[in-house]
Every structure is written in structure tokens, then in C-alpha cells.
């Protein structure tokens, strides 16, 4: 899970797996993905007791971003 200077740099990376092309996104999009409720509240003293249900959930954010399919584990060919 890495950052690159551009999509071209991802594709030129020696370890790039072409089947993971769906996972190339602008930094701002990944930052949005990592704004799930459970990531915002990690430092709350009772996080481990409540974190799993915090919103927005991963699936809610993926839906908002229009992400589906096998790479994201959503949709008819996903999980």
C-alpha cells in the first residue's frame, strides 16, 4: 500500500501487478477512503468497544465513491 508520484510510476514499478489497476487512485481519493468512522475515532478511550460500528463505514464510503467489483470486494462479483 504505497504512494507514487503518478499512475505511470505505479505501472512502471517493478512489483506492479496489473490485476490491481483498479487500486490506483489519486491521493485525495485514498484519503477519503481512510476517513471511515473507525479511523477517525481510533484514539477514543473506548474505541475498541465501539469502533466496529462507527459511520461512515468502509462499505458506505466505497458506495459513495462508486467503487465496486472484485478488487473492492463489493458488488455481484465481489465478496
Amino acid at each position: 500500500m504505497n504512494l507514487f508520484r503518478s499512475e505511470e510510476h505505479v505501472r512502471a514499478w517493478s512489483f506492479f501487478d496489473a490485476s490491481s489497476a483498479d487500486g490506483i487512485m489519486p491521493v485525495r481519493s485514498w484519503a477519503h477512503f481512510f476517513s471511515q468512522g473507525r479511523m477517525r475515532a481510533r484514539l477514543d478511550p473506548d474505541f475498541a468497544l465501539k469502533g466496529a460500528g462507527l459511520r461512515p463505514t468502509r462499505d458506505e464510503i466505497l458506495a459513495e465513491m462508486g467503487k465496486s467489483g472484485p478488487y473492492w470486494g463489493t458488488g455481484p462479483s465481489g465478496r
Binding site: 500500500m1 504505497n2 504512494l3 507514487f4 508520484r5 503518478s6 499512475e7 510510476h9 505505479v10 512502471a12 514499478w13 517493478s14 512489483f15 506492479f16 501487478d17 490491481s20 487500486g23 490506483i24 487512485m25 489519486p26 491521493v27 485525495r28 481519493s29 485514498w30 484519503a31 477512503f33 481512510f34 476517513s35 471511515q36 473507525r38 479511523m39 477517525r40 475515532a41 481510533r42 484514539l43 477514543d44 478511550p45 473506548d46 474505541f47 475498541a48 468497544l49 469502533g51 466496529a52 468502509r58 472484485p70 478488487y71 473492492w72 470486494g73 465481489g78 465478496r79
Partner: protein, 170 residues
Amino acid sequence: MAGIQVLARMYHAILSGFVHDGRAPHYTEIARELDIDAEEARRTQGELLAALSGPLAADDGRLVSLGGAHWALPATDYIASFSPFANVATQYRVSVDGQQKWYGQCGLESLAISWLFPGKEVQIDACCLDCTEPLTVRMRDGEVLEVTPPTAVGHSNVPLPRFALNWPHT
């Protein structure tokens, strides 16, 4: 196995330690903070890391559902990584209000670190794995303030459903 209340307190102690000191507290430090003995802290820390990684779910499995990656260096009680931080130097150097003291677990989890420093500016500096040229991301409270170069992207070779199968590899 320790009860979920103890595991929750330990989770908070470890993550708070990272935020304050830029590193994971040793279990002896956690023992003092939680007012438990060293061996109980060592054992509980191991149980916490296992529970967070599954399949040894604690009590009702809520810890596993927290997401993220948490593991110790092999055959030790030293925390290696605890989302969103790394306890070893990675290429993702993280500065808060200009002070570089933290390392991101990976490029993408680094983007979640600003949530742990409310109101402060968090900067991620790294070198591109392809060309080694620098890239920078500045954030505050989850908002991206700057991306340099603006073409920068994030990527994972591992599809989302398989993130947790081998966290160090992911």
C-alpha cells in the same frame, strides 16, 4: 484470555503512546499505565495483537472488526506495526506541526494519521518506489491541504478482500 475491557484499555495505551512519543510503548510501560504486572501486560499485548489480526477473536469479535494491521516482530514481544503507525522506520516519514517523529505503517494508512492529531498539520514525506523522487502530502483533520506533485497516487497490489491475509506483505 483477557476480557475485552482490558484489551480495550491496552489498545488505547499503545495508540496513545505512539501519538505522544512516536513509538510503541514497551509492555512494561503499559503495565505501569494500566496498573497490572509485567507478565500480565506481556500476555495481554500478545492476545490483543492476535485478536486484532484474527482468527483469535476476543470475546465477540469486535476487535477484529476494527480493521487495520497490528503485529509484533517475529518471536518477540516488540510491536512492529500498529495501524496507522509503524514502530520501525518506513519510507513514510510523518511530521506533526513541523516535527518529524512518526512513521506511517504504509502509504495509505499514513493518510489516516491526521485524525489522531486534531487541529494540527500532518505532513507525510516519502520517496516514490519507482523513481525515488520525493513526494509530500499535507493534511489537517482528514482534509488534504497539499499533494506534491499533484499527480501523486496511492495504490495497493493486494485487493481489499485480501488485505488482512498477510498484513506485512499488504
